[in-house]
Subunit: 130 residues, 2 copies
DNA sequence: GATAAGGTTTCCAGTCACTGGAAGGTCAAG
DNA sequence: CTTGACCTTCCAGTGACTGGAAACCTTATC
């Protein structure tokens, strides 16, 4: 398979796939014309990466996950630990965003949104007081 | 005030303040020795920026917000519109993160986390099926 | 007056995970 | 033989800082 095929099947941009090669996540073969030639195992890895990235794992997490996947003597505890740490980070981020949302939502609601200049959003930003 | 004072009072790192000057959000004066000299109005702007950034507004949003704040003939509708667009983005992001969290949470729960290699987290990433 | 500590300056590089674009080589169809 | 769709590499940019080096300024102490 050439990069276009694999991109379509893995649901990743060709650019991203080249980048993944550059940072050593995959190592496709090369045809005599210089084109990358992808085996099924490469496609499989790319799909794995796509799903891991969709769950928000960092590239370095993905590298570790791929290594664990390849290591048939891994302990599932190692995988779980990595996933749990990531889950905790996501939950922190959600909490933080919810706090932003709550404040912003109040501000937006309190603003008349007409053609007069008075605006509680700006007042709040200027003074830090509600 | 020198940059250290203003950093402390605004609750921003000195590095960030220099960066804000570089991108034209503030324009402090200079002493004869080359040190930045901050007026109260600069401190005020920095505090404004700190709060806007804490609510997740982008730097470009902040630039617009400062301009609106300075423009005494603004329409509050403009501010509200900007804030609402940002709020919508935050809500999208929360939804997205919650979806990640739900999937991840299930996966983490389903993994034994012991010293055996079997791991539903890796299986899911590998196959995309639960 | 020398020295040390702490504050300040500029400039350059790195972060993360791509993404866009330019300039050029390759391949299949008509 | 040319057109168009692929593919290649390389370089630069994104957002919002952050770290570090080398050098200058200020203040306190000896």
């Amino acid at each position: 398979m050439n990069i276009g095929d694999v991109a379509q099947r893995a649901g990743l941009p060709a650019k991203t796939i080249r980048y993944y090669e550059e940072i050593g996540l995959i190592t496709p073969m090369r045809d005599t014309n210089g084109y990358r030639r992808f085996r099924d195992s490469d496609l499989h890895k790319l799909a794995f990466l796509g799903r891991a990235r969709a769950l928000g794992f960092t590239i370095e997490d993905c590298r570790t996950l791929l290594a664990l996947y390849d290591d048939k003597t891994r302990a599932s505890a190692d995988v779980k630990h990595l996933a749990k740490a990531h889950l905790d980070k996501i939950e922190d981020k959600i909490t933080q965003l919810q706090s932003m949302r709550d404040t912003l939502s109040e501000l937006v609601q309190s603003c008349a949104g007409d053609n007069r200049p008075d605006c509680p959003i700006l007042s709040d930003l200027a003074t830090g007081k509600h």
